[in-house]
């Protein structure tokens, strides 16, 4: 300890010398500055007059809901693995994934189906699976799967709705922030009326330059703990549905399955220019709300929204927490 103190005195002297020249706040060399953080181009979505992407190409992640289950036995096999993925145009992120995608694949089953589930861990560290749609002992089903190992079990979804699934390995915030989540739809045994259906998973990204890949980003744990995300996305890529608007018909019923994966930010989900005719909270048909403008989708929760767009035009959908929309949680419907 005494050596420690001696050296510390030297340190203070050196510090004073080193800084004497700099203490007048001279312009600093470019090398000493941080490299400029990337930014998602903010969208002005406040009046439904946002500059809308003109791309007719589909968005990178297809927002359409998959078809309902056709069999009473649904086999789901997911692999955990690392992948470098775009989280905004031109921004690559070193993600941890289910099946190489963020979010993981949308899973759709029907109340009372039997789900035959296998998780194979092809990643470099332990991962696990936590289905919010299941009622099961986590100590049996949501356990860590070692690299190269797998887990298999069956369960029966008994409550309809749209649910989060995610990796539950500690520290959970890290596994979720790195991309290990997805949406699982449980259709009620008596199906909802036909509609044009989309799935949106909202989540945040907390980034710093990756240590091993030039140009890529990786998780910044301090930013995560400080609740300071760089990007917030629907379906894993900031602004993708503003740049590639989703085409619908005016007047038709639109059904939106919205899940908030977080790990931290609630989604105040809202469609500009529309009112939700029905909102299924988590999402039992018997308890639908009617005539609602904005509904908080909690972190770790899901809601089913129904609405229609009354006339042709462009209708943004956002989290009405507008700092988050500005960071990328915004998309567009174009009604014809």
């Amino acid at each position: 300890m005494s050596a420690y103190h001696l050296r510390s005195l030297t340190g203070l002297v050196l510090l004073a010398v080193a800084l004497a020249a700099a203490c007048t706040s001279q312009p600093r060399s470019a090398a000493a500055r941080r490299e400029e953080p990337w930014t998602a181009s903010p969208a002005d979505v406040s009046h439904g007059e946002a500059p809308v992407g003109t791309s007719t190409a589909p968005a990178p992640v297809d927002p359409r809901a998959p078809a309902p289950s056709a069999s009473r036995l649904v086999t789901i096999r997911l692999e955990t693995r690392e992948a470098k993925l775009a989280i905004a145009p031109g921004v690559l992120y070193e993600a941890w994934t289910f099946d190489g995608r963020v979010p993981g694949p949308v899973v759709r089953v029907t109340e009372g189906d039997t789900v035959d589930f296998t998780l194979v861990n092809r990643a470099m560290m332990p991962h696990s699976m936590d289905f919010h749609a299941a009622q099961i002992a986590p100590s049996r089903a949501y356990v860590n799967v070692m690299p190269g190992d797998s887990i298999h079990y069956r369960w029966v979804p008994q409550v309809p709705g749209v649910f989060l699934y995610h990796c539950g390995t500690a520290p959970v915030a890290m596994h979720i922030a790195n991309g290990m989540y997805g949406a699982l739809i449980v259709d009620p045994a008596r199906p909802l009326p036909p509609a044009r259906e989309f799935v949106f998973v909202q989540s945040e990204f907390y980034t710093k330059p990756a240590s091993d890949t030039a140009g890529a980003q990786q998780l910044d744990w301090e930013k995560l703990l400080g609740l300071a995300p760089d990007a917030i996305a629907f379906n894993g890529i900031a602004n993708q549905y503003a740049e590639h608007p989703i085409r619908v018909m005016a007047g038709e019923t639109i059904r939106l399955y919205v899940v908030d994966a977080g790990p931290n930010r609630v989604s105040a989900f809202h469609v500009v220019g529309a009112i939700f005719s029905k909102v299924y909270v988590d999402a039992v048909p018997a308890h639908a709300w009617e005539g609602v403008q904005t509904v908080d989708v909690p972190v770790g929760g899901g809601m089913i929204f129904e609405t229609h767009l009354v006339e042709p035009g462009t209708y943004p959908f956002v989290t009405h927490a507008f700092a988050d929309a500005t960071k990328g949680a915004v998309g567009m419907f174009v009604a014809r």
């Binding site: 510090l15 000493a32 490299e35």
Partner: protein, 140 residues
């Protein structure tokens, strides 16, 4: 599983993982008990990369060594350097800090009383990189 010599605590989490237990809390408990300058060695069947950020946030530098059979040993050294530490505290703890602050043209304008977080912000220096650099130098 927990072995303690003078300054090094070793925690081999392989038996816990083999038994299906979650070692994260045990690791955090062990880390909290490490004094300044002390070392916590974690032995795991995979590279415990998530710990770098989590224990880093608690002030630990790390050095990773692959073992035979695919396991890893990581030595975490408690440097006490966190975002909330002041520039003066860090300079006092780590002689190498002076040169690092100098290379980023970070000054002692407020007597070093600013936290690293505030000071990095004021000087346009990337905090995560600065912390990693300071911790690594302090652990050397």
């Amino acid at each position: 599983m927990v072995q303690q010599t003078e300054a090094v605590t070793t925690l081999d989490v392989r038996p816990m993982l083999a038994a299906g237990e979650e070692p994260f809390d045990a690791i955090l408990d062990a880390a909290r008990a490490v004094p300044a300058g002390g070392v916590l060695e974690i032995v795991a069947p995979f590279e415990p990369a998530p710990l770098y950020a989590v224990l880093g946030g608690m002030g630990f530098a790390h050095r990773t060594e692959p073992l035979e059979g695919g396991a890893f040993a990581v030595r975490f050294t408690q440097t006490g350097i966190t975002a909330a530490a002041t520039v003066a505290e860090v300079a006092e703890r780590s002689p190498a800090a002076a040169g690092i602050f100098g290379s980023h043209l970070m000054d002692l304008c407020c007597g070093g009383s600013l936290t690293l977080e505030r000071s990095a912000q004021a000087h346009g220096v990337e905090l995560a990189g600065l912390l990693a650099e300071l911790r690594e130098a302090a652990a050397r």
